[in-house]
Symmetry: C2
Subunit: 330 residues, 2 copies
């Protein structure tokens, strides 16, 4: 039986602008998806994922090799499709089909923009591989997990799977059709409080909405995108120098620009502002927006309380430097 | 006895950016400052301004020609200093000192960014002049009132006094050290709901704060300013074409950019967002920010209610096309 964890991530700067060639800065956080894998004697794949707020359901490998979930409960299928595809790809990669019991647990809200689906894919593949007694290079692991995301979603940025695999802080630079990721060494401990609310829009819809604005009034949107790019570059410098105050100022500006792009919500704005008023050095929505998460640069409990008072939920997070790791193997 | 009114104004697009050479679009609203003037037999100037939320106080013209308020109550002096200076300048301009009773009444919150001080200056001068039986050209009136604002504040944009004098909608183009104002003909009725809250920062402080950001990270702030400039130009086109929907979209983006500049507040954002959720075509803070006013492009009573529920006060406003006018003279 093997237990593996993989971290979630937040975007410090640059979401949405990264779609238009600007850099982004992502940070793996010490909140994890845990996957425990135990080989079975039969060829079934059973998934228990109560902590993903999904009913534990069981999925069977058919004789022809397909994995089919034995339920038609839409949301569950959708979340489990990452697990299903991860197992399929791992089986293909090692050309070996072994039935397995998977238990999945999350310390993060699922689908809130913290990269949980990528962490699920990474941890599932690694747990499966390890339980079978194999090994996998991290680059290969990240590649396979990215493939899972692309297969399930149609398209996906490699950011989330890279963060879940390697951890740390990465400077993401789109380069033509590919993406370069450069590890960044922070000059200071980054204290984050993450506030989250239910999402009302999908990433796909939000990206498409910004795209429509970009197409219809490029001369308005283009400078906003470029300004976010400069913020990300300055944010990286501030991070390396350990200038938390400047990081906060840049977060505040970045948030306003995301608001200008139309991806914020009333509740996100409220959490962002109460965090500042309660003493955070800066705050912004993180990820695609449309609900979901915000981050506040602080570790003050007043900020946690203030966010909770708006009706948001709170996670206190720090940097994860390890990426995915095996935490037990016996 | 003469009664004169002068309208307030809102900025539809471009506040703050106008300081950096970009255009702005201002609209006079059908909410007024009323000044009633009645010549006295003595040389006193008595000001009754209960509706400005000021105690009625009396001001005396000393023998040497100065007007000195007989109170040291700071806020009152500050608001009345516009009246005092307006009377002084009118006296100088016509080279005639006549004691006068002035009664001032406001339909707008004072000091919320709606240009009430300019409207007070314009209406006071016109009422005084008319009561003395003189006449004054509107261009001269606007010039004198602008002088009042500059004398009281140290510096002032000519926008508010121009709007209070001429009414309508003006496209404001900074040109070197001067400002060109071009009347704009709207292609449609502009329905506005104005929400307001107490201001926590002064215009002067907010302009200085944006200037510091501009100086310290020009490459971040400059594109924001330029984007606001494009929004104002597009907003003018949309207004002329009567495209209310586009006007709303542009307001929303403009608001986010003002938020990025750091001049919004939690309560302004809240009013701005509830207005959108309640069905406004668009909404933004208006004026310098730091509390004060927001506008929503709508006449829906749901939007009024929604703003009131956040704790804000509401004014329903339309376009004023007349500027300052004499409404009774007997």
């Amino acid at each position: 039986m093997v237990t593996v964890r993989a971290p979630g991530k937040v975007i410090l700067y640059g979401e949405h602008a990264v779609v238009y060639g600007e850099p982004a800065l992502a940070m793996a956080v010490n909140k994890y998806i845990y996957v425990t894998a135990k080989a079975r004697d039969d060829n079934k794949v059973s998934i228990n994922a109560r902590d993903l707020r999904l009913a534990g359901i069981s999925v069977t490998i058919h004789e022809n090799g397909d994995i089919v979930a034995r339920t038609d409960y839409g949301a569950v299928i959708s979340a489990l499709s990452y697990v299903k595809r991860a197992v399929e790809l791992a089986m293909e990669y090692f050309n070996k089909k072994v039935g397995i019991d998977l238990m999945i647990r999350s310390e993060m809200p699922v689908g809130a923009g913290l990269g949980t689906s990528a962490a699920v894919a990474v941890a599932t593949i690694l747990a499966y591989v390890k339980e079978l007694g194999y090994d996998v290079d991290k680059r290969e692991l990240a590649r396979l997990a990215w493939q899972v995301e692309r297969d399930v979603q149609g398209s996906a940025s490699p950011t989330d799977t890279t963060m879940a695999t390697f951890g740390g802080i990465m400077y993401i630079k789109p380069e033509g059709n590919s993406t370069a990721m450069e590890p960044v060494k922070p000059g200071v401990t980054i204290p984050l409080i993450i506030g989250y609310t239910p999402r009302v829009s999908t990433t796909k819809d939000l990206v498409a909405m910004v795209r429509r604005k970009y197409e219809s009034m490029r001369d308005v949107i283009e400078p906003i995108i470029r300004s976010i790019g400069v913020i990300t570059r300055k944010g990286r410098e501030a991070l390396e120098k350990g200038d938390l105050e400047l990081m906060g100022v840049l977060m505040n500006i970045n948030h306003g620009l995301l608001d200008a792009l139309g991806v914020s919500t009333k509740q996100l704005n409220e959490m962002v502002y109460v965090a500042r008023y309660a003493g955070a050095l800066g705050s912004k929505l993180t990820g695609a927006g449309g609900g979901g998460c915000m981050i506040a640069l602080t570790n003050k409990s007043e900020v946690e309380k203030a966010i909770e008072l708006t009706g948001g939920s709170v996670l206190k997070a720090g940097l994860d430097t390890d990426g995915t790791v095996v935490i037990s193997n016996d």
